[in-house]
Amino acid sequence: MAHRQRAGPRVDADAGRASRILGGGGAVRSTLIAAVSTVVFFGVLAYLVVSSPGWPEVKEQFFDGEVFRESLRDITPRLWLNIKIFLIAEVFILVFGLALAILRGLPGPVFFPVRFMSVAYTDLFRGIPTILVIYIFGFGVPALGLSGVPTSPFFWGVASLVLVYSAYVSEVYRAGIESVHPSQEAAARSLGLSRAKALRFVVVPQAVRRVIPPLLNDFIGLQKDTALVALIGPVEAFRQSQIEVAANFDYTPYFVTALLFVVLTIPMARFTDWLSARQRRRMA
């Protein structure tokens, strides 16, 4: 098996050399090879799955046509809650993440406590599994019974995602800010702009443009993680699929939800690719 895997790239290299030798005919030959290789690859994969001993049972429990249609009808509307969680969280994450990154970059000994807090925050919330943050805030804070503090699981679900993802996003922003050459800030300061205005007009706009692709990548992760909010109560797509599974003793609703999430994230993924490619073209 290991031997066969290593043989793969060598065949590709041969094909590449051949296409270069063949010149104009190379393109047709490459397309043909790609088509044949794709069909063979997925054919073998499908055969392995379908011929496995447990397949008939899995097929019945995960890919039941009738349950599929039924749960698709029930789960799809619940996806709106995921989208709502995602959109609200995203706005706050963009703002908090940037604030954290800027606080961390404040110079001078006076701001040491601020920098320290920012680093500690990032370490903490990147370290704790998202699911635990959701449990701790979703169940813990409302249990304190403080007046004026929201108790809605939706609120704490969104808040937890904001807390966790702000930590990731602040690191992305920070990388962007550090990638802007110091001469840009020097030029802004030399015109009499304060440090805050130099950041606002010169450094941050350039930093944000550079980090849009990695930011969107984090948001693809966020779109998926909206499903975790289900664990403290709100009935979104994943929670609805759990309900359906329990009602039918059939796992097809999970498959439906997985499919829906993929459909939800693909546009964002392609948009990210497109932006990255455009950025590369501009750099060239």
Partner: protein, 247 residues
């Protein structure tokens, strides 16, 4: 009252002392050129004057005011001093017009219409009127450097610092930037210029300072420095420049 006075200015980066006691006076409407080998401290000297680099010892006065005294607001000081860098340092995400109007609007609080009208006037004066809506990466190096000069002038500075502004340019683009500096000098602008363009320094300067290993070894009128340098180090430096065909 002199435009700029430096008294015993010292500056180190780590263990390396770049400026080792600089005394220099620039009178109003003077053009002072600082020459010297790469690494002799020319750029650092200029960056100290507009407080981009804090100095370790000594005193700098701009327009009679000690700008290195404690409690001085550097933003306030920099408003009156334009600096132009070797690498232009235009803001790549802004159009030419926005590059020029940013500081007048955000620092001086001038209205958009007002700032743009003056920027357009300046751009026209330096042959850049048709570039106002372009982004810097669409311009040639010479055009970018002229925009950088206009950007500094838009703050109506009393003093301009030019840090090897032609060193990053292709040879055929040097002339257009030097012409702009000539025009500024003719208009009476006080300038402190770090440069490798010896014949230009000879033509434009009232005073030339030879900076060597962090001290001003020799200063005087250009004829004296270029034709009859007293110090052996100055003679050596100019000899090498002549051999390289640059004078």
């Amino acid at each position: 009252m002199s435009a700029v006075e430096l008294h015993g200015v010292r500056k180190s980066f780590g263990d390396h002392e770049v400026l080792r006691g600089i005394d220099l006076v620039v009178e109003e409407h003077d053009v002072v050129c600082v020459i010297g080998a790469s690494g002799s401290g020319k750029s650092t000297l200029l960056r100290c004057v507009n407080l981009l680099e804090p100095i370790d010892a000594g005193r700098i006065e701009v327009g009679g005011r000690d700008v290195t005294a404690p409690g001085v607001d550097p933003n306030q000081v920099r408003r009156g001093i334009g600096i132009v860098f070797q690498a232009f340092n235009l803001f790549p995400h802004m159009t030419v017009l926005r590059n020029v109007t940013l500081a007048p609007r955000e620092v001086l609080g001038r209205s958009r219409a007002d700032a743009e009208a003056e920027a357009v006037d300046l751009l026209r004066r330096f042959g850049l009127a048709d570039k106002r809506d372009d982004y810097p990466d669409r311009l040639s190096g010479g055009q970018q450097q002229r925009v950088a000069i206009v950007r500094a002038l838009a703050m109506r500075p009393q003093l301009m610092l030019l840090d090897e502004v032609t060193s990053a340019l292709d040879p055929e683009l040097v002339g257009e930037v030097l012409n702009v500096i000539r025009e500024l000098a003719a208009g009476g602008m006080t300038m402190l210029i770090a440069t490798h363009e010896m014949s230009f320094a000879r033509e434009i300067a009232n005073k030339v300072c030879f900076l060597d290993a962090g001290v001003i070894l020799e200063q005087g009128p250009p004829e004296a420095i270029f034709s009859a340098p007293r110090e052996p180090r100055t003679q050596q430096f100019l000899q090498r420049i002549v051999e390289a065909g640059r004078l």
